[in-house]
């Protein structure tokens, strides 16, 4: 089994889908000749040709708009946004045109919008954001945030095959730091299914993307130092949310700590808290707690960014507080 980085796994998944289905196309800035700012589409232009690997002007609304038009013909375009922060530039196309298309007039939009998200690489306020919740709040979209190379390949393939618009947030901190064996087979990881990354009975850590490793590190430390057995759930898909995996873990541990790299107010933790209140209030032995980034823009200087982001120490502290209930 070949060993691949996370970023290679995304590229491999896209490559396989393009070879499998001639309806799959790529569109974005610098994806052709240059192979993408992070080299996800390196070599695609030479292999698939310029009709299927379309370099565009710096026009995010045109990228998404053109992809919508292509999808209306039954094609399956994949848009690359060079940094996911630029998704704000095509917010209107995504939330008003793309997301409402099927509901309003029965026109499905089978397309993917993907790009590097997340902080920890000192990219500053415009190259580090986690804008997933704007879109989790938008009915009609699906939102995917993989944490491993295996998932990155399986989820991107599932996203391409989905008949709905899928936003695919790749975590750039993981791009080259995550390296693992990835099967060469044509496998998919279904959208909307969370994964249990570590089993435990004392409390549940719910998280996704780069925070999965942070939570696994914290769980390891809590096991060693406190004898606490933490269950770690990797959401993988934020919309639709796999409520059942969260609830069944809660039924076992009765304590829930949500960890996300997104800023605090309006993050997925709030949504999970409300869902748990509605569906499993009687299962809680303590308050639902959260560890998140600060409610600020993502700062640039390393000590500032470290202060801003969640880390294993912050998770350990919160878990200890929660365990005391």
């Amino acid at each position: 089994m070949p060993v691949m980085t996370y970023v290679q796994a995304v590229g491999r998944g896209l490559w396989e889908e393009m070879e499998r289905d001639p309806a799959v196309l790529m569109i974005g800035e610098d994806i052709g000749v240059y192979g993408g700012a992070f080299k996800v589409t390196d070599g695609f232009l030479a292999h698939f040709g310029r009709e299927r690997v379309i370099d565009t002007p710096i026009s995010e609304s045109a990228i998404v708009g053109a992809a919508v038009g292509m999808s209306y013909l039954g094609l399956r375009p994949v848009c690359e946004l060079q940094f996911i922060d630029f998704i704000a530039c095509c917010f209107n196309q995504i939330t008003n045109f793309v997301a409402k298309s099927h509901y309003r007039w029965g026109a499905p939009v089978p397309m993917v919008i993907r790009g590097p998200a997340g902080g920890g690489v000192h990219g500053g306020p415009f190259h580090s954001q986690n804008p997933e919740m704007y879109f989790v709040h938008t009915p009609g979209l699906k939102v995917v945030c993989p944490s491993s190379a295996y998932d990155a390949k399986g989820l991107i393939k599932a996203a391409v095959r989905d008949n709905n618009p899928v936003l695919f947030f790749e975590h750039k901190f993981l791009y080259r730091r995550v390296k693992e064996e990835v099967p060469e087979d044509d496998y998919i990881v279904p959208l909307g299914q969370a994964a249990v990354r570590r089993e435990g009975r004392d409390l549940t850590l719910v998280t996704y993307a780069a925070m999965v490793q942070v939570c696994l590190d914290a769980a390891e430390q809590l096991e060693k130092e406190d004898g606490l057995a933490c269950e770690v759930i990797d959401l993988r898909t934020l919309l639709p949310l796999d409520k059942e995996t969260i609830l069944s873990s809660l039924r076992k541990t009765n304590k829930l700590l949500v960890v996300h790299e997104d800023t605090r107010t309006g993050g997925i933790a709030g949504e999970i808290a409300a869902m748990v209140m509605e569906e499993a209030f009687d299962q809680l032995d303590g308050p639902l707690m959260r560890v998140t980034s600060l409610d600020t823009p993502v700062p640039y200087s390393p000590p500032l960014e470290e202060y801003f982001l969640p880390n294993a120490a912050k998770v350990v502290k919160a878990a200890r507080d929660l365990a005391r209930y």
Binding site: L25, A46, R50, W105, P108
Partner: protein, 394 residues
């Protein structure tokens, strides 16, 4: 390319159907039967009808709110439009959306607009490019207003379409007013067709109240796109004779302006043309009007008979869960896609600005324009005078 006698009569039918359907909508609005607003295209019928009539069945449109005529030409019936406006269960969107916000990807090939102006331009460019990739020679046409051409996505979409040579015809319907904002506050341009220069594409001007001119100009633009030399921008100079919607009396429009454009009414003008050219008989005219009358009555009866949608429908259809089959329709073998060597090849072809059909910009205007070359021009002098007077009053 010359229109047959029958085609001349069809153009008349579509324009009158457009107008009389809107008259009926206005009546129904006053009777409180319409949910929401009614947006009139009074005086702009020649632009909607003439442009859409230049397309073939395989081609695509994406209308704006004032392109009812185009929607009719593309095959929708009065009942569909009446049900949309009255939010009935049997409407094309089943009550999910209103007005001209509907479409059909298969039979009619019409993309539903959204209220945010300009977004349709890259979408239609994408349809053109997608069709080209599938080996289908189809042209996409959409409209934008003088106001809508101020949006960022107008620029992004048209620029992208230009670099990709997408088979896109963009009709810039200069009706001189964007809600209450006159076009001299939208852009420092006499001719909005000049926007085309920024994209290296042809920008042609047509008298938007002359249906034959609109048809012929659009036909040329469509043919140019079919040959691979798209996109083309057409500025259609016309005038919005009602307010933004029914609620708006448009008191901000100077009286002289309205009067001047009433005199240029596209339907009256076309009637005179048909008579002068002996293209119809009085009986044929009456038959057309009687047919429209009958069709509208039938449409209204059908629309009024349709119930409102069941409330639970509100929760349905957010996602496509296998309810639609998604399949690309190839007109060529999808396999032999030749690997590209280098995008540098892209620039070796001839520049679209030198495309032979419509020539370089000045020549192109002369060739493509049928009828008065710049019907809006005189107005700008008057507009200046009007502005000056207003200033003095203050």
């Amino acid at each position: 390319m010359a229109l047959s006698r029958q085609q001349h009569l069809e153009l008349y039918y579509w324009m009158q159907l457009n107008r009389k359907l809107e008259d009926l909508l206005t009546v129904m609005f006053r009777q409180n039967k319409v949910v929401g607003g009614v947006y009139s295209s009074l005086g702009q019928e020649a632009t909607s009808v003439g442009t859409a009539y230049a397309l073939e069945k395989r081609d695509w449109i994406a209308p704006m709110i004032r392109n009812l005529g185009a929607v009719l030409v593309k095959g929708y019936r009065p009942r569909d439009i009446l049900m949309q406006y009255t939010a009935k269960s049997g409407s094309p969107t089943g009550g999910k959306d209103g007005t001209a916000h509907f479409g059909d990807l298969h039979e009619k090939r019409m993309v539903s607009p959204i209220s945010m102006l300009g977004d349709l331009i890259p979408v239609m460019a994408g349809i053109g490019l997608g069709a080209r990739y599938l080996g289908r020679n189809e042209v996409a046409l959409t409209w934008i207003g003088d106001g809508g051409s101020s949006t960022g996505v107008f620029h992004e979409g048209l620029n992208f379409a230009a670099v990709q040579r997408a088979p896109l015809v963009l009709v810039l319907e200069n009706n001189q007013w964007a809600y209450s904002t006159p076009n001299y506050l939208q852009a420092r341009l006499i001719d909005f067709a000049d926007r085309a220069k920024a994209y290296g594409i042809p920008g042609v001007i047509v008298d938007g109240n002359d249906v034959v001119a609109v048809y012929e100009t659009t036909k040329q633009a469509v043919e140019q796109c079919r040959r691979g030399d798209g996109p083309v921008l057409i500025e259609s100079k016309t005038f919005r004779r009602k307010g933004h919607a029914q609620h708006d009396p448009a008191a901000y429009v100077p009286k002289w302006m309205l009067k001047e454009w009433e005199a240029k009414d596209p339907i009256l003008r076309y009637e005179k043309y048909l008579t002068a050219k002996k293209l119809w008989t009085e009986k044929e005219k009456n038959d057309i009007l009687a047919r429209i009358d009958r069709e509208l009555k039938e449409g209204q009866a059908e629309a009024e008979a349709s119930p409102l949608p069941p409330a639970e429908r509100a929760a349905e259809g957010v996602y496509c869960d296998g309810c639609h089959e998604i399949r690309a329709e190839w007109k060529r073998s999808p396999k032999p896609v030749k690997p590209g060597k280098n995008t540098a090849q892209w620039f070796e072809g001839k520049s679209p600005a030198l495309a032979p059909s419509l020539g370089a910009s000045q020549e192109r205007k002369e060739k493509a324009v049928v009828g008065p070359s710049n019907p809006g021009h005189g107005k700008n002098a008057k507009l200046k005078k009007h502005k000056k007077q207003r200033k003095q009053r203050k």
